[in-house]
Symmetry: C2
Subunit: 152 residues, 2 copies
Amino acid sequence: MFIREMTEAECITVVTSGRLARLACSKDDRPYVVPIHYAYAGRRLYSFSMPGRKIELMRVNPHVCVQVDVATGAQGWKSVLLYGQYQELPETPQWHRERRYAWSLLEKHVNWWEPGGLKPTPQKMLGASPHLFYCISVDEMTGRAAAADDRG
Amino acid sequence: MFIREMTEAECITVVTSGRLARLACSKDDRPYVVPIHYAYAGRRLYSFSMPGRKIELMRVNPHVCVQVDVATGAQGWKSVLLYGQYQELPETPQWHRERRYAWSLLEKHVNWWEPGGLKPTPQKMLGASPHLFYCISVDEMTGRAAAADDRG
C-alpha cells in the first residue's frame, strides 16, 4: 500500500464531489463526532441540522475538523481533513442571502443521511421549522491518498 | 424518515460486526478526526497505528469519541457513538498478553484501511516495526437507527 499527501486541488475535488462527512467538535477537550450531509462551495461547507448536541458544542467552541473520504479502485482511498470554524446562518435579514445560497446547494441532494435530522420538504425554505443552517469556513485542508501500487 | 434510539445490545452488534470507524480526539479543544480500522471485544476497541498526530494527541488527552455506522436497506442506517479512553499497549512484559490478544483479533481482517498506516505482515507480532497497538476502553455507547418507515 502506497500512501501519499494530496495536493489542495485534489482535496477540493474530493470534497466538492462528496456528500457525506464526519464532523468532529469538542468542548472541554471531550471530542464528539457525527456523520453529516453537506455541500461544498467557495471554501465553505454548508449543512443543516436539528438543534442538538453538535450545535450546542459548536456554539461554545466553533473550531471543528471535518473528514471526507472516497474509495478509489479495489483497495485505494482518498481521505481529506478540513479544519475550520462553525458559523450559524440564522433567520435574520443579515444572513438571508447566505441561507438562501446554502439551501440552493443543499436542496440538490435527494437522499439525506443526517442522524438527528429529518428529511426537509423540498423547495421550502424551512422558515417555520426547527432546522438550523450553518457553514464551516475552511481554514486548512489536507489529504492522503492510498493505492495498492504507486500509480494511485 | 423515522429515527429512534438504539439499545446497547444493538449498538454492540453494529460495533462488533464493523471494521471501519472514525476516531475523534482533541487537544486544547481543537478536534481531529481520522478513519481507523479496528476490532471490538469485551468493551474494548483494538487498533494499531503508525506514530503520528492522533497518537500524539491521545497521549496528551486520552478522551476520545468513536463513530461507527452501517447502511440498512435502501435508505436506512445505524450510527453508533462510543465514548472512551485511549490506552497504549506498549511492547513491555506487562502488556504482552494484551498486545497478543489485540493482534489475534486484528489479524483476522484482510483489507486494511488505515490512513498513515501500512499493511502489516500477517502472522508477525510486529516486534521491530514502528506500529503501535492501542485500545479504547469504552465508557459509554449510544446509537441511532433510521429507516424509511417505522419498522426499522
